[in-house]
Subunit: 187 residues, 2 copies
DNA sequence: TGCATTAATTAACATTTGTTAAGTTTTCAA
DNA sequence: TTGAAAACTTAACAAATGTTAATTAATGCA
């Protein structure tokens, strides 16, 4: 849990009481490689913090599997479209490596918001940060060509290329595996 | 202001005191068509509510102008990457029609968060809603072809096609105006 | 270790988009 | 009202991606 608490402190400091209350709704979970952490069709009621390992969020459209995002150590992961709307999620979360997660009970978290203003503030700030990342992702998809997007990955997230199968990276970039292979072979 | 207050009530109800405090940091502004509401290079310190009219957020990459988003009546608009990070924005906001906006002073808003928990909650929820929209936008850019994206616009936001010049729609869809013309002529 | 399965690459062709340039239509201000 | 500027369309060709299928490489389990 210490890693998670250290992470929260970089966003918003909490009083000892609030910290204790937050830890009270967290539990440590481990998943072995390729396990589904949260399946498609269930309403998202959990926010995860990645202590160790790697996750991806994916979904299907017309039988084609799409990887929406990857998350590694020291990240917060949730399926926002379900968590914030209460609708069942069309997306799943999968462990790409043996992973250790902190599961935060979102239902009890929202109740804590009433009691601890600072906990609501913490999560407000975390959503803001995640939102900024998402806007950057749109810029990338909207402006860069598939080839440029791949080279940006190489440049800014080289570790991702080492840790994740190319078939997932292809759909993350919005292209086919064949096209990704071609891009990679073009030097 | 009534329209704005009505909008906030659909997200989070406020006590009369909080409502008054919020209105105290809001001002009504009008912009004529094609005016720049916020220029590139300035740090975003204002959140807008669109009372009437239409806005777009745009930026330049390698001399090419990209439209990132459109917003119409009853929407909240801000340049998140600047507002939430304190960095100067590479993006501008422009009025696409004669518009009437409510400008919310973000600096004073954050101060109000300390005093009125419910105001922080209101804006937390609004950011969450905006975030969900942004995730849906990624799905669209990542999965659909330019042609499919255009037809989705036709289907789900037909008004947008009526109100916005095609050159802006093209870059919003991530394609050239030439390509958009071709798509439109293919039936 | 060895074999079956999955992942990744390569090839060939169809389709789409990008690019440049020309032509047409629309808009807006003098 | 008219003419210049901007917006939009069309055309022709280049470049990139999609699709299908075959081949090679890597992985993982018995």
């Amino acid at each position: 849990m210490e890693k998670f608490i250290r992470f929260t402190k970089t966003v918003q400091s909490l009083s000892p009481d609030a910290e204790k209350a937050l830890l009270g709704i967290c539990s440590r979970r481990t998943y072995i490689k390729n396990t589904v952490v949260q399946p498609i069709g269930h309403t998202c009621k959990t926010i995860y913090f990645v202590n160790k390992g790697a996750l991806r969020i994916y979904y299907f459209k017309k039988d084609v599997e799409i990887t929406e995002s990857f998350e590694f150590e020291n990240s917060i992961v949730a399926r926002a479209e379900s968590l914030f709307t209460g609708m069942p999620s069309r997306k799943a979360i999968q462990a790409l490596e043996d992973s250790e997660l902190i599961a935060i009970d979102a239902t009890r978290l929202v109740m804590l918001y009433d009691e601890y203003h600072e906990i609501e503030r913490l999560f407000r700030k975390m959503v803001e940060e995640t939102y900024v990342k998402t806007v950057r992702r749109i810029e990338s998809l909207q402006f860069f060509s598939p080839e440029e997007r791949y080279h940006n990955l190489e440049k800014f997230q080289p570790d991702l290329l080492q840790r994740v199968p190319l078939k997932y990276i292809a759909s993350y970039l919005g292209i086919t595996t064949v096209s990704l292979s071609r891009i990679r072979s073009r030097k």
